[in-house]
């Protein structure tokens, strides 16, 4: 009986979670627009949407975890998860690609063009079209900022994230040889490194805003700097959350040496976030 069931591909029962997720996103979108346009109660609508979203995430992932622990996922389902996680990470690569593309386009093409034309020379004779820049108009208006230095916090953060790639792999080795203590310790260290990274990144942003004049509004340098590092930081937050869930599941005795794709998915994601950081460190912090 049980053999016959696991031979079949797992097909879930009808589920309410997706429609709850849709309601959450609709509420969040409306709330977000209300907040942006300073309408009354906007924050409450937005927070209500976020709350429903978290309710959905807990419920839906909880159901998947229960299905998995009940042994309903056979090899073919496992393989589906592997394909889908790979394609999901590919979509994330392309998302970051849009912002790296913007960085490339402005640094290599459009900022130099701003210095080339005679019109520009007439309009803003003192403007130097060199990276990093806040652009001719803002510079002429007196906007000043200091670009972020690579060999301070960013270098420490590089060290933290690269080490966390090692610890998560060490945890995986522990899982594969049934060493639960090594798994939990490795995951715990990875989570700690992720949180330390986020803390330092927050400190860096605070410093940039309060002491360096480096804000979202600091021209195209500020815009690319904050959107690239900001979306990366958000991904670290999501990755850390995934790893915390894996830590809690490991402590609850989930996963076996040969059936633990959720853990692997989280670690794939973590390595992806790592690689994006290395690119950021080189292209955003270092080469300026």
């Amino acid at each position: 009986m049980s053999l016959a069931q696991t031979e079949k591909y797992f097909l879930p029962q009808p589920s309410l979670w997706p429609i709850i997720g849709s309601v959450a996103l609709l509420t969040m979108a409306i709330g977000g627009v209300m907040v942006i346009h300073h309408m009354n109660h906007g924050w409450w609508v937005l927070l209500a949407g976020v709350a429903v979203l978290f309710f959905m995430l807990f419920g839906w992932f909880g159901e998947v975890i229960r299905d998995s622990e009940a042994g309903r996922f056979n090899k073919q389902v496992d393989s589906s998860y592997r394909w889908s996680m790979s394609w999901f990470i590919f979509s994330e690569v392309m998302f970051f690609g849009a912002f790296f593309g913007a960085l490339f386009y402005t640094r290599v093409l459009s900022v130099p063009w701003l210095g080339e034309s005679d019109t520009m020379q007439q309009l803003w004779p003192t403007f130097k079209a060199a990276w990093p820049t806040a652009g001719p108009g803002l510079t002429a208006d007196g906007l000043k900022f200091t670009p972020m230095e690579a060999w301070g916090i960013p270098a420490i953060n590089t060290l933290l994230l690269l080490s966390s790639g090692v610890t998560v792999t060490w945890a995986h080795w522990g899982l594969k040889k049934n060493n639960r203590a090594q798994l939990i310790l490795g995951l715990g260290m990875t989570v700690a490194l992720g949180i330390a990274f986020l803390f330092l990144q927050g400190y860096e942003y605070h410093h940039a805003y309060t002491e360096m004049g480096l804000t979202l509004g600091a021209g195209v340098y500020g815009a690319t700097f904050f959107l690239l590092t900001g979306f990366h930081g958000f991904h670290v937050l999501v990755g850390t959350t995934m790893l915390i869930v894996m830590l809690l599941r490991s402590m609850a005795g989930h996963f076996t040496a040969d059936h633990h794709f959720a853990f692997e998915a989280a670690s794939w994601y973590w390595h992806f976030v790592d690689v994006v950081w290395v690119l950021l460190f080189i292209l955003v912090y270092w080469l300026i």
């Binding site: 879930p12 589920s15 997706p18 609709l26 889908s84 979509s91 998302f95 402005t106 021209g219």
Partner: protein
Amino acid sequence: MSDAAHAHDAHGHHAQPTGIMRWLTTTNHKDIGSLYLWFSFFMLFVAGSMALLIRSELFEPGMQLMRPDFFNELTTMHGLLMIFTVIMPAFTGFANWQVPLMIGAPDMAFPRMNNWSFWLLPVAAIMLLGSFWLPGGAVAGGWTMYPPLFIQGGVSYDLTILSVHIMGLSSIMGSINIITTILNMRAPGLALMKMPMFVWTWLITAYLLIATMPVLAGAVTMLLTDRNFGTHFFNAAGGGDPVMFQHIFWFFGHPEVYILILPAFGIISQIIPTFSRKPLFGYASMVYATASIAILSFTVWAHHMFAVGMPVAAQLFFMFSTMLIAVPTGVKVFNWVATMWKGSMTFETPMLFAIAFVCLFTIGGFSGLVLALAPVDIQLQDTYYVVAHFHYVLVSGALFSIFAGIYYWLPKWTGHMYNEALGKTHFWLSVIGMNTIFFPMHFLGLAGMPRRIPDYALQFTGFNQIATVGAFIFGFSQLLFLVLVLKTIKSGAKATDQVWEGAEGLEWTVPSPAPYHTFETAPVVK
């Protein structure tokens, strides 16, 4: 059937939800396919009504019916809705119904996520349509959302950005689902190079969607921060460049064009062999041509921007890469014609639409080649010639293939044959209507009539009146199609399992109508 009934017991003892809850919570690929198709059909009438309002205003020069800004809202929303809530969901609906049936899978790889992919679309549509009632009206800057115009709009612009995010989320999840299903759930023996063409085209389309939708999300996110959070991505005063938006947007936008047409190629490649009673000519070359089109589509984006002021070297590169796409597309058209060559052909409605597709899509392809020539395009940029071009590929291309596919598979889905006389009437009215609208637009564009403007010079009146008459013929003949579909669901001659004499493939081995669960035990393909 007994197999299906048994599996149903084994899966659980929960009562299946009924009524509205069945559709809200369903995890069945056939239910979700039907949801996509009905949603798309409904939105076709919504966005089509906007087109009729546009054509009514353009029946005569001067301002008749509406304020110019409302006209701009209509053209913008007509484009956004037709692309994201009509054509794309229709193809995803076909994928949901047909991919598992054609590869012998019990369902999609992720049935719950499949449900969410669909139910995000009504949310996005509500946000887009609702913005008509907001202060300042709906978005009016064109579906391409170019800054600086798009930066300056009101509340509805932010709502549209978030709506695009949600539609992107839906497309990415839907595509991951389809790609995983195709790669991981084929019946034993069904090698990649034995897959039906429709499955191949969707595999490649899903790849294009996963590659480009996140780029669109990035582009509109930059619009959002430029609008609200003080960034200067698209503002030269801050060192940015409005043209950069066009580059990022069209890096998404051009592959998007193939997202809208590759599944159409797939449907046509199923239908023509069936009614020619011959296997598809040049199957392998069809696969390679589809893949080539997909890869080339990432290298042509700036042909949408020839008039924006690019270096000549860039113009030449994008001109030649664009013309290169004509090669694999030509391979496809050649193969379809060669499939019909010396075939034992019959002309049921799906075949009529398929043949019309081959002829009329080719016209659209050729006008695309004309526009690919940078010096010509600088003349024709933003004229009705462009409007004629992309409606030939999207109406007589994408939409006709959807009609063809519905006629082709409707008997399998409903268990009834449609009314052939009604189908043929729908076909002829659509073909005549469609050409009456869009053929004169070539002349209007060559004579210099600009698009997206509610008024025009007197000498354009004649062709505009012809186009408007055609629009009403085409629009109202779709009501006939609605009647036909409803009639086929309720009644009609009983369809056999194979439905069409020349049909081959796994979907024709299951009963008509296809039972709720199919292929719970995978068939073996030899």
